[in-house]
Symmetry: C2
Subunit: 345 residues, 2 copies
C-alpha cells in the first residue's frame, strides 16, 4: 500500500515544478518536493512530501566520503584531492575519470576486479562510442560510482577489514559510513537501507534531513574538530575538481564551475542536494517521478530564487536551467523549464 | 502559463497509477490519466486530465498509415503487409527492420538520404553495439520512424507531390494524413501541430478523442467502406507482424504476440493507445511526467482490469506488467508495478 502521504488529497501534494514544452504547448510536467534547512535542522522553505523518507542515492556521496578522511585512511594512503572528488562523484567515465580511478586502485595493488559496482557504459556518450568502436567493453572502472568504490576499498584496507564484501550493509566500511551519515542527518540511527544501483546500501532520509545534512557539510562550524576538518577537505576537493565529480556537459560540473561557492550533487531518480555555505543552508529536492531531466532544472530554479547564483553564473548556466529539446533531425522542437511562479519561496 | 487543468486543486488531478519500488519502499511514482471510449465517442471510463489535448506522438502511427492504404498508394507500389506494419511502427532498428525499410526505399528508387527523420542509434541495444563495433554510424534507416517515413514517401510519389519537404505540415502528404486523423478522432479539424521527434507534425488530441479513434480503428463497422477496408488492412498487417511494429523485448511486440486480438501502440512521453476490437472500445493513456517506463505497466493494468488479456497472456506478460529493476551488478533491487487499487474501473 502506498503511504498515506501519497494520496492526492493530502496537503503534501508536490507542486508542478518543471514543464516540458513542445511547440507552444505543455507536453509533460514534473512535480517536485523540496526543503531548505539550516545546520540546526530548522526548515526555511518546504513544499511537497518533505517528511517522507526518500532514497538519497548518489546525492550523499560527499557525505559517504567523510569516513574516508576522518578515519585517517585518506592520509595514510595518500589520497589526493582529485581522488577525494572522485570518491564523491557520479562521473561520466571519460578518460580523465578512468585514468584516475585506475591509478588509485593500482596504488592499493588492486584493479577493476576488486570493484563490486558492476560495469556500465560511460555516461559520456562520445566516450562510450569510442570504447565500443575500439572493440572494448565497459568495465567496473567506467561505472559512475567507481571512485566511491575505490574510496570504500581504501577504507577497508585501512580498517584491516576484508576487501571482499565491502559493499554489504554489515561490513565495517558500510557501518562506519552509515554512522557518519546518520550523524550528519541528525539521526541516532538510519532506517533500513535498500540496495543502490552500484550494490552498496542506500538509506532513506526525508528531504528535511538531507537538506540539514548538506547545510552541515557546507557550514560545519558547529560540528566537532575532526568532522569539521573532513567537511572542509571534501568541499575543497570538489571545488578544485568540478569536472571529476560529474563530467563534460553535466549539470553538477557546469553549476560548480560557474558558481564555485556552491556544492551540488545529483542522485538517481530525480534527487539533488546542495550546500550553500555562505548562507549556512542546505537544499534537497526530489522529482516525484524520478525524472533526471527535471532535477537540475528544479535545482537551478531554487538556487536562483534563493539568490545563490550570481548574475554571470545565471547567464553561463542558461542552457542547464532551460534545456533545449532537439529532435533527431536537429530541429529545436521544445524546451524544459521551471513552471511559472515556481518555486514559491 | 500552465492551463488551469494543471493546477493541483482541480478535479482532473491524475491518480498515482504506477509505483517504482526499491527494496520495501516506494522510490518514485507516476500519475496516469486514461480514457476508455467506444466508436461513437462515448466515454466508458476516465481518470485524470482526459479533456486536455496531449501530443499523441507515435501512438497514432497506425492512424497515419490509413492514408497510405486509402489513397491507393499501397496497392500501386506493392506495399506488403510487413511494410504496412513498419509504416505503423516505432521499430527497434534490428536487422529485420533495417533490411525491410531499405528494400522498400530501393523499390521506390530511393535510399536513406530521402528520409527526413534524422538518424539515431537502434533502440535495440545489442544492434546499436554491433553497429558501433563494426565501425559504422547509425543512419536515418535505423530511426524508429523510418518505416512511417517510407510510407510517407510512397504516398508523396503516388500523389505526384514533390518528395522534398514531405514532412512539412503544408505538404499534400501531411495534409491528407491530418484530414484522416481528424476524421478518426471525430473532429472537423485538428489543432495546430508541433514538430515530432522525427520532423513530421504531431497533433494534440484529448485522451477521449484518441481512445475514440482507436475504438474506430479496431471496430470500424460504422465507417465508410474505404475507411473500413483500410482499418482492416492495417490491423491485419500489425497482427501478422508484431515484431516489426516494435522489436525484441519491447512491450508492443510482447503484448500483441501474447494477445493477438489487441492492437496497442506506444508513443513518446508516456503515451499509449489500444484498440480492443471485440469490445468495440479504444483506450488511451498519458503518464503525466512522460515516463516511458510507466506507460506499458499502466497499459497492461488497464487492459487486465478491462478483462482484455486472457489468463495465459497475463502469465506470459508478467515481466512487462511488473518489470524487475536490476542494478549494474545484476542484483534484483526493485520493481515497477501498478499502484494498489489502480485503476479504478
Amino acid at each position: 500500500m502506498p503511504p498515506e502521504s501519497m494520496s492526492a488529497a493530502t496537503p503534501d501534494l508536490a507542486p508542478i515544478g518543471v514543464l516540458v514544452l513542445r511547440g507552444a504547448r505543455i507536453e509533460s510536467w514534473h512535480r517536485v518536493s523540496y526543503a531548505v534547512a539550516d545546520g540546526a535542522g530548522r526548515v526555511r522553505h518546504a513544499a511537497g512530501a518533505v517528511d517522507r523518507p526518500i532514497f538519497t542515492r548518489s546525492a550523499v556521496k560527499p557525505l559517504q566520503a567523510l569516513a574516508l578522511v576522518e578515519s585517517g585512511a585518506a592520509r595514510r594512503f595518500g589520497v589526493s584531492a582529485a581522488e577525494l572528488a572522485l570518491a564523491s562523484a557520479s562521473h561520466s567515465g571519460e578518460a580523465c575519470h578512468v585514468a584516475a580511478v585506475t591509478g588509485w586502485l593500482a596504488r592499493l595493488g588492486l584493479d577493476q576486479s576488486a570493484l563490486a559496482c558492476g560495469a556500465h557504459a560511460p555516461l559520456h556518450a562520445a566516450s562510450a562510442e569510442r570504447l565500443l568502436a575500439a572493440g572494448q567493453t565497459p568495465t567496473a572502472v567506467h561505472n559512475n560510482c567507481s571512485g566511491k568504490h575505490a574510496g570504500m576499498l581504501t577504507l577497508a584496507r585501512h580498517l584491516g577489514a576484508p576487501l571482499a564484501g565491502y559493499q554489504r550493509p554489515d561490513h565495517p566500511v558500510q557501518r562506519r559510513i552509515a554512522a557518519t551519515l546518520a550523524e550528519m542527518a541528525g539521526l541516532a540511527a538510519l532506517p533500513t537501507p535498500a540496495t543502490d544501483g552500484c550494490g552498496v546500501p542506500t538509506f532513506p532520509l526525508t528531504l528535511k534531513q538531507l537538506a540539514g545534512a548538506f547545510a552541515r557539510l557546507g557550514a560545519p562550524q558547529g560540528l566537532g574538530a575532526m568532522r569539521r576538518a573532513a567537511c572542509d577537505q571534501i568541499r575543497a576537493a570538489i571545488r578544485a575538481h568540478p569536472r571529476l565529480v560529474a563530467g563534460t556537459g553535466r549539470a553538477c560540473t557546469a553549476i560548480m564551475t560557474a558558481a564555485p561557492e556552491l556544492l551540488v550533487k545529483t542522485g538517481a531518480e530525480g534527487v539533488y542536494a546542495a550546500a550553500l555555505p555562505e548562507g549556512g543552508i542546505g537544499l534537497a529536492l526530489k522529482v516525484e517521478d524520478g525524472a533526471g531531466r527535471a532535477a537540475p532544472v528544479a535545482l537551478l530554479a531554487l538556487l536562483e530564487a534563493l539568490g545563490a547564483v550570481p548574475g554571470a553564473a545565471c547567464a553561463a548556466l542558461a542552457g542547464t536551467a532551460r534545456p533545449e529539446i532537439r529532435n533527431h533531425a536537429g530541429q529545436l522542437v521544445g524546451r524544459i523549464e521551471p513552471a511559472p511562479d515556481w518555486p514559491d519561496l
